[in-house]
């Protein structure tokens, strides 16, 4: 192919194909290199943003839960009368409030010494001393009612025969006792499972989750909290220790994770959303996969389309080139079908016109050449063989010297007629009668020269006599037979028979002898032999007939070595020919 390219340059088909493929390739490459990463990046950011939104929504849910719980606690504290020790009407209200909220496991109010004024969960197993040591109690008193304290999850142990896993909310409440203002503490235990369900049920991807840290980075809630306590799971808390809010990344068990951190307002706890990159970016992976498929399919379609388009564009040109190649090989009978683009059709039309013109010119040239050849052959044939003339004249002299005037006169008369018919006023076509007369005169002259060397029988069907024939076609044949007879007949006399007949639309002459015949290997080449070698007379006759009447006519030679030769001339009857 390279050699072909170097020699002829690339084909138009190849150029169009390569051009289209290059264009498509550049387009697809641009899409895969620039567009796909861009969209992929957008999807990635979008996925992380969605995950962040989910975490923030979860934080909002927890915030609402905490707000609701705080409202309940505030309401509970508002139920405490000025003198809670003497006015016990609030007991039933507190009891009712606790029962109305299933997440509340206990509501209790303690005086400043830790003594319980009322608790919804029955008797306490811990006295005032024990209560005063509890963190929820001491912290509530320290903050003096301005803030609510949140404990870590733990098992509440202050009630008899009752253990609940809770988060304790406590708040200082002022009241009057013995005419003096006192500060007590309201306790509200919230069932931990209610709180943890808010975070445990958050799903980030297939295996993402959320967990909650307190302000000291201790785990408050985690879907695998017990497994972490049991040492069967781990959480990389260090990754979020230095960050209050926002987004960070880490790697755990070989999987990259995005950590979204948000603060739960009232508690100052932080919720951390953990999402696995490979999961949240599934849409991005799906997009890349789909884009890869689309690009691959597009590449196939582009290849097919480019091939088809290159073929469609170049097909008329290829067709044109094919026809031109035929013309180049010599076939001028080609006609181009005008199809394809207008430019190609115009080229086809012009080419067809050009071919028509070439054919006309070629025909003209061929005709002219044939005429020229015919004139040459006629001229050649019209020339009297000098040897024949010399020998004839020599014979006439010899006869006169021997006193054989009568024979000399016959010979001179025959020679004169021979010349007259040969000339025929310059005509190349004469009547069969003249042609027969011409050969008869020739035979007379040669008979007188060669005496008993041959005898000749000339017969013409009467209907042939008025037919027209190319002149001087029989004499060369008889001369040829006679020459071979005299040269090769080993002294024996030969018989030459000349016939003129009509066969259908054809006029036929036969010249037959019983001489030595022609060898088969020589026979085929006699009429085809180039000019200048033997058989000139036969080829001259054949050529003149064919130039005059066409290639379907002319001479045929049948011969058998030792048996004689039959030469047949075929030409059309009644054919009008130019003189």
């Amino acid at each position: 192919m390279n050699l072909h390219w170097r020699k002829n340059g690339p084909s138009l088909h190849t150029l169009i194909l390569i051009g289209l493929l290059l264009f498509t390739g550049v387009l697809l490459t641009f899409m895969s290199v620039a567009l796909v990463p861009f969209i992929s990046q957008l999807l990635s950011e979008n996925a992380i943003e969605r995950t962040k939104e989910t975490v923030l929504q979860s934080v909002n849910v927890v915030d609402q839960y905490v707000d609701s719980t705080l409202s309940t606690l505030h309401f509970a504290t508002s139920l405490i009368p000025v003198n809670p020790e003497t006015d016990q009407s609030w007991h039933s209200q507190i009891e009712l409030l606790a029962r109305s909220n299933p997440d509340i496991t206990a509501l209790a109010f303690f005086d400043g010494q830790g003594e319980c004024l009322y608790a919804t969960s029955g008797k306490l197993r811990v006295g005032g001393y024990g209560i005063r040591k509890r963190a929820w109690f001491t912290q509530a008193l320290i903050q003096e009612g301005t803030l609510t304290c949140f404990s870590h999850p733990y098992v509440q142990d202050i009630f008899q025969n009752q253990h609940n896993y809770v988060v304790t909310l406590s708040r200082a409440v002022t009241y009057m006792s013995g005419g003096q203002q006192q500060t007590g503490v309201m306790l509200m235990d919230i069932d931990y499972s209610g709180f943890s369900a808010l975070t445990d049920n958050v799903k980030l991807g297939d295996s993402g989750y959320t967990y909650v840290l307190d302000k000291d980075d201790a785990l408050i809630a985690h879907p695998k909290l017990q497994l972490i306590y049991a040492g069967q799971a781990q959480e990389n808390i260090a990754a979020v220790q230095s960050q209050l809010v926002g987004l960070t990344r880490d790697k755990q068990n070989g999987r990259e994770r995005v950590l979204i951190i948000a603060v739960i307002n009232q508690t100052r706890w932080r919720m951390v959303g953990v999402a696995y990159i490979d999961e949240i970016l599934q849409s991005q992976i799906a997009f890349i996969r789909i884009m890869s498929l689309v690009l691959l399919a597009a590449a196939f379609i582009a290849l097919g389309a480019a091939t088809l388009m290159a073929y469609w564009v170049t097909r008329p040109i290829t067709h044109l080139e094919h026809k031109m190649r035929k013309v180049e090989e010599g076939d001028l009978n080609v006609t181009i079908t005008e199809r394809g683009f207008s430019e190609i059709r115009s080229v086809g039309t012009a080419f067809n016109h050009m071919l028509t013109r070439i054919r006309e010119l070629m025909g003209q040239i061929v005709h002219e050449q044939e005429m020229k050849r015919l004139y040459e052959l006629n001229a050649l044939q019209a020339q009297i063989n000098p040897h024949f003339l010399y020998n004839t004249l020599d014979s006439i002299i010899w006869m006169e010297e021997r006193g054989r005037s009568r024979e000399a006169i016959i010979m001179v008369s025959a020679l004169a007629k021979l010349f007259r018919i040969s000339i025929s006023k310059g005509k190349s076509v004469i009547s069969v009668a003249e042609e027969i007369e011409h050969v008869r005169n020739y035979v007379i002259i040669q008979k007188m020269r060669f005496q008993d060397k041959f005898d000749c029988d000339i017969q013409a069907d009467p209907e042939t006599l008025k037919e027209r024939t190319v002149k001087l076609v029989l004499q060369p044949l008889v001369e040829n037979a006679l020459n071979h007879a005299i040269d090769e007949a080993d002294g024996a006399s030969i018989h030459i028979s000349v016939r003129a007949s009509v066969e259908g639309d054809e006029l036929r002459f036969t010249v037959e002898d019983d001489g030595v015949g022609i060898a088969e290997e020589q026979l085929d080449g006699i009429l085809a032999r180039p000019t200048g070698t033997g058989g000139i007379g036969l080829r001259n006759v054949n050529e003149r007939i064919q130039l005059t009447f066409g290639r379907q006519y002319g001479l045929t030679i049948d011969s058998e070595e030792g048996r004689g030769t039959l030469v047949t001339i075929r030409m059309p009857r009644g054919k009008e020919v130019e003189p």
Partner: protein
């Protein structure tokens, strides 16, 4: 047909094939088939079983599988297990104390080529998850040392479990100056042996190496044979564990961790299903005192019925 047309048609077919098989491939990405492992139990109830279940469920949730629970048919375990296998059960976790029944289940599972993991039971050559009994003894001794007591009385029996715990304890005591007495005649005892009496009079700590021994120690305490100075460190005392610690009847309890056991058991079964070998896994017991009784870390152990 002309060659370019053939090429174009082939390209079109190729692109359609790419799209068809590509999209079908992505849609065919169904999640991995969920398998089910059954927790087969000889006991119907109990907090220990509950925590075993929770632990196994946590492990199942981690890998996206399911855990089912069935009570073992004591009369015909073979038919039951064959039916479970026919239902598509991938492996079995067995929890039970009946040795004969366990042997039957092992034989059936072996015949059916069903992976079996024994929970709370240690058997050589079997996949099993059990409490590290040696460590239980060690933890008890550590508690004794925390209390600053030098003399120890071990209440033990002739069980293999007690022997392991005793070995762990004595190993931990090795090199110390403790005066030790091992007593196994505590059943229905109304008086203390001389050596035990001598040691308890000196404020020795009592380590009860089994659940029954713990109850016996408590009985001795109630009968006045042990005094307040004799701290009792018990093991597997039953359902009153929290009150024993809260009321100060025992100084500490060594409790098994069924939640972790269930989790590790399921993971072991999972490992075997993936071609891993059957191994023996031990789970650390927990030392529960009044100090750490209510901490979140011990909730599953000390308060197994709490959600």
């Amino acid at each position: 047909m002309k060659r370019p047309v053939i090429i174009s048609v082939l390209c079109l077919i190729a692109s359609l094939a790419v799209m068809f098989f590509g999209f079908r491939g992505s849609q065919a990405k169904t999640p991995a088939k969920t398998k089910t492992i059954t927790l087969l139990t000889q006991e119907d109830t109990g907090s220990f079983l509950l925590q075993l279940r929770y632990g196994a469920e946590a492990a199942a949730a981690e890998v996206g599988d399911k855990l089912s629970i069935s009570t073992l048919n004591r009369d015909d375990p073979a038919t039951q297990i064959a039916a479970l296998q026919a239902d598509g059960i991938a492996a079995i976790l067995l929890y039970g104390s009946d040795d004969a029944l366990t042997r039957q289940v092992k034989a059936v599972c072996k015949e059916l080529r069903l992976p079996l993991t024994l929970l709370d039971r240690e058997e050589v050559g079997s996949a099993c998850v059990a409490t590290d009994e040696t460590l239980a003894g060690t933890l008890a001794v550590q508690r004794v040392q925390t209390l600053g007591v030098t003399d120890v009385v071990f209440l033990t029996d002739n069980s293999l479990m007690a022997a392991k715990r005793l070995r762990g304890a004595t190993d931990a005591l090795e090199g110390s100056l403790a005066d030790v007495e091992i007593w196994d005649g505590w059943t229905n005892a109304t008086a203390l042996p001389e050596k035990v009496q001598k040691l308890t009079a000196r404020g020795a700590c009592v380590i009860a190496l089994t659940g029954d021994a713990t109850l016996a120690a408590l009985r001795l305490q109630a009968n006045g044979l042990l005094n307040a100075a004799n701290a009792i460190i018990g093991m597997d005392p039953g359902s009153d564990r929290v009150s024993l610690v809260e009321n100060g009847q025992v100084s500490a309890l060594i409790l098994p961790a069924p939640y972790t056991m269930g989790y590790r058991g399921y993971r072991l079964a999972e490992t075997m299903l993936h071609g891993g070998k059957a191994e023996s896994v031990t789970v650390e017991p927990k030392l529960i005192t009044l100090t750490n009784l209510y901490s979140p870390e011990n909730v599953k152990v000390a308060f197994p019925l709490l959600q």
